[in-house]
């Protein structure tokens, strides 16, 4: 008699998402678990459809600039800087020095606000809500400063192709310096609350480890890569705007602790160190702020005419708070709108790091590990392609047809 071998399932498969209270944005994790341990992890992005590139290719470059800023609600200026750098390369527009400095200053202020926002979210994921409130209260100061400098808390509208739209005048320097002093104190306070706390250490030390070798294979960017000891930073490696003029170094966790473990704790250290670094950068840039015009082409109508004649393709890059952002733009002569526009948000490169981080950890660690790369899922998701010829949903008729087909196959086999 033939024995039937039944393959015993190794464990239990569970899914988290696409919409789940522990996740801020839509992404789906599918996990093979054994007890509390995650044996195998996988994830499915592409749950948010935005079509922002499609919209951008139907607007002229000045309009697309503001659309690019709205790709992300947290790091808006990174997208507008990347887009404008791409367009400036195509149209060969020379950005004035003062504009370069102001771009960098606003970019660094945004980095402070983004990292503090992340610190709050991470604390909340750990259940440490008083630290969450502390981080977000401190963050209000930089939001107020950004509102004071740019006119809005979130969407700054500072960047124009060929420069910046608003100046930073000496009258505003004391207010900026006041904020920088505030953040020096806040850094000391937050470093104590996050790094000396026993609970945070117990939850984050050796949790969600991404080793140096794994990080080299998966190519994450930004603080996720630097927390694993990889020295990688667009501001240094391909310096742009005003970053070539200043002292700046890679922020890896060994600067503070003397070792790199690549865990969630190291990612907290890296981001806090970057807050401190940004304070220093803003001070250096303000001290060196050169005189000169703000815009290469002050009249928007002239700029539009010049861009209409420009043709070519270019890539603009910027070190966002989450890592490298890339915009690919192709312009064709005689057309106002970009012929092609492709955005690569930084989280796209960091997604794959989730898998080695999650495997071997407990289910309760998923929220903090998912949050530890600071994912910006809706910035990354573009379009979900559904091919008409490959159907994923089987209707009753389909199942019936498949069943009939199987019966025929068995009958045919029996008849032989």
């Amino acid at each position: 008699m033939k024995t039937i071998e039944v393959k015993k399932p190794s464990g239990y498969a569970t899914q988290i998402g696409p919409a789940h209270p522990a996740l801020k944005e839509p992404v789906m994790f599918s996990l093979d678990i054994e007890g509390e341990r995650i044996k195998k992890a996988d994830f499915v992005p592409g749950m948010a459809h935005r079509g922002v590139e499609w919209m951008g290719m139907r607007r002229n470059c000045i309009q697309t600039m503001y659309l690019a800023e709205r790709i992300c609600g947290i790091c808006g200026i990174t997208h507008s800087i990347s887009f404008s750098r791409a367009v400036e390369q195509i149209a060969q527009i020379q950005v004035p020095n003062r504009a370069h400095y102001i771009r960098s200053i606003v970019g660094e202020l945004e980095r402070i606000h983004s990292h503090l926002l992340w610190a709050g979210v991470a604390a909340h994921e750990l259940g440490f809500d008083s630290a969450f409130y502390l981080a977000w209260r401190v963050r209000e100061n930089v939001m107020d400063l950004l509102e004071y400098l740019t006119g809005n808390r979130v969407h700054y509208a500072m960047i124009q192709i060929g420069g910046v739209r608003r100046d930073i005048v000496p009258d505003q320097f004391p207010r900026i310096e006041e904020s920088m002093k505030f953040f020096e104190d806040a850094y000391a306070k937050l470093a104590a609350v996050f790094l000396d706390d026993t609970t945070v250490q117990m939850r984050c030390r050796d949790c969600g480890v991404l080793t140096y070798d794994e990080a080299r294979e998966l190519c994450p960017v930004g603080p996720t890569a630097r927390a694993s000891g990889i020295k990688k930073d667009v501001r240094i490696d391909h310096s742009y705007a005003a970053y070539g003029d200043i002292e700046i170094q890679y922020q890896t966790p060994d600067l503070l602790t003397g070792e790199v473990r690549g865990d969630v704790y190291d990612r907290i250290i890296t981001r806090l160190l970057e807050v401190k670094q940004s304070i220093g950068i803003v001070r250096q840039l303000l001290a060196m702020l050169p005189d000169g015009p703000l815009l290469a082409i002050p009249k928007p109508a002239v700029l539009l005419a010049k861009l209409k004649g420009a043709a070519g393709e270019a890539v603009g890059r910027h070190e966002a708070p989450r890592g490298e952002v890339m915009h690919y733009v192709r312009l064709e002569a005689g057309k106002d709108e970009p012929a092609a526009w492709k955005v690569k948000a930084s989280s796209y490169s960091n997604y794959m790091a989730w898998i080695p981080m999650m495997e071997g950890e407990q289910i309760a660690d998923i929220p903090i590990i998912a949050a530890s790369i600071d994912p910006c899922i809706s910035c990354t998701d573009r379009v979900a392609l559904v091919r008409p010829d490959s159907r994923q949903i089987l209707t009753k008729e389909d199942l019936h047809r498949l069943s009939v087909e199987k019966t025929r196959r068995i009958q045919a086999a029996l008849a032989k």
Partner: protein, 133 residues
């Protein structure tokens, strides 16, 4: 065991709240009821925090100087401006405007500007106060 947050929290017991209690210090039973009371002069609103000098708020439009050149329509990222053929003037929908101020820069007659008015919420996106013309 070290919990540095405890010290911070104890210190906060003796601090004033960091948030501005707007529009009232305590949540009223009904907001519309509170507003009616304010209208009758029985209650007062707690003012919002002052805005910075160069805030980008609601658009203002000087209809008389507008020459109908349509340049603002060309740069508006949100398609918030309508051109009215009959009068050769424009109409701005505040509900759609993203307050970037690009139109104020391209306007040859400087008839567009951004004010510091920011309380623009309404139930009706075509309400009178949300259409500038």
């Amino acid at each position: 065991m070290r919990f540095p947050m405890v010290q911070e929290l104890l210190g906060q017991l003796f601090q004033k709240p960091n948030t501005n209690p707007f529009p009232a210090a305590q949540l009223p039973p009904t907001v519309t009821g509170l507003l009616e009371k304010v209208g009758r002069g029985e209650a007062a609103l707690n003012p919002p925090v002052p805005v910075p000098a160069k805030l980008r708020g609601k658009m203002t439009y000087v209809r008389e100087t507008c020459i109908g050149c349509k340049l603002c329509l060309k740069v508006c990222p949100a398609h918030a401006i309508d051109f009215i053929e009959g009068t050769k003037k424009i109409r701005i929908f505040v509900g759609q405007c993203i307050q970037c101020g690009q139109c104020t820069e391209i306007c040859p007659k400087q008839c567009l500007a951004l004010s510091d008015e920011f309380l623009n919420a309404s139930h009706d996106r075509y309400a009178d106060e949300l259409v500038v013309d």
